[in-house]
């Protein structure tokens, strides 16, 4: 199972999907596009403490984190 984690006021919201299930993948891709379109940054975990920012949905990604748009403090 892959997981999409969205940062929010509750800490985070997690959406699991089965990469082998076409319907699940389509839903996850739609969520990815919706969130990145709204300004979220998507980051995939590539190892312990390592990550990379992705602009396109990758169904093989095991864990994707969505970070709200950054602003200066």
């Amino acid at each position: 199972m892959a997981i999409q984690i969205v940062m929010d006021q509750t800490g985070d919201t997690r959406h699991q999907f089965d990469p082998s299930d076409a319907a699940d993948v389509a839903e996850a891709e739609a969520r990815f596009n919706e969130l990145t379109g709204a300004g979220f940054t998507a980051a995939e975990r590539t190892g312990r403490g390592q990550s990379k920012v992705v602009a396109k949905f990758d169904p093989a990604a095991e864990e994707t984190l969505f970070i709200p748009r950054l602003k200066g403090g």
């Binding site: 929010d8 006021q9 403490g49 403090g73």
Partner: protein
């Protein structure tokens, strides 16, 4: 503990669920998420010092991310001194752990873009200390050691002036001046009492 939200529940229940989660719970979940995404070295640093260091992907600069949400990013020079403080964070009300994780990922994957929108307090140069004189755990140990020292000293003087030997001396010296409470008097009394056949202590 991961929060698995079921989307089979009605929308009103989800909204209620969102607003009923206490800030404490969201903070806890934020810290859990942060720890899952930190490297083992960063977790160790965070557990020990409540901060961790990251290396900027574009410039190789070291940054220290302190626990917090505001002005909590410290840029370090090669010698470890603080050169400036940066402030940027995700929009919205997020848990501290979430903010720190977003800052870590930003600095490690798109450093210059993140700094372009960040605010900073300007270069501080060598006059700005890179860290406090003592870390918080060292400070706690120092305070505890000082407290133990003060307790020992206080116990010593209490025993000498108000202990059984001192009480004996006070009883024997009824109505005399306060000078009889002096340290030398007590010592004299002890020597005298230890000598069998001796008379009054304060003659």
């Amino acid at each position: 503990m991961l929060h698995q939200r079921s989307y089979s529940q009605p929308r009103w229940a989800r909204v209620l669920d969102d607003y009923c989660l206490s800030p404490l719970e969201s903070e806890e979940r934020g810290q859990d998420l942060l720890r899952q995404w930190l490297s083992p070295e960063q977790v160790e640093q965070y557990d020990k010092y409540q901060h961790f260091e990251v290396v900027g992907c574009d410039t190789g600069t070291r940054y220290r991310i302190l626990r917090g949400k505001i002005m909590n990013i410290v840029e370090l020079a090669a010698d470890g001194r603080v050169t400036r403080r940066w402030c940027f964070a995700p929009e919205g009300t997020l848990a501290t752990g979430d903010v720190m994780l977003a800052q870590k990922i930003a600095l490690e994957t798109f450093e210059l873009n993140a700094l372009a929108i960040a605010n900073n307090d300007g270069r501080q140069g060598a006059v700005f200390p890179s860290r406090s004189f003592l870390d918080i755990d060292e400070l706690v140990w120092l305070v505890l050691a000082f407290a133990c020292f003060v307790t020992l000293v206080w116990s010593f003087f209490f025993t000498v002036f108000y202990g059984p030997a001192s009480s004996f001396a006070i009883r024997r010296s009824s109505g005399t001046s306060a000078a009889k409470f002096s340290f030398l008097r007590v010592l004299t009394m002890r020597r005298t009492v230890g000598d069998p056949g001796s008379g009054s202590c304060f003659r």
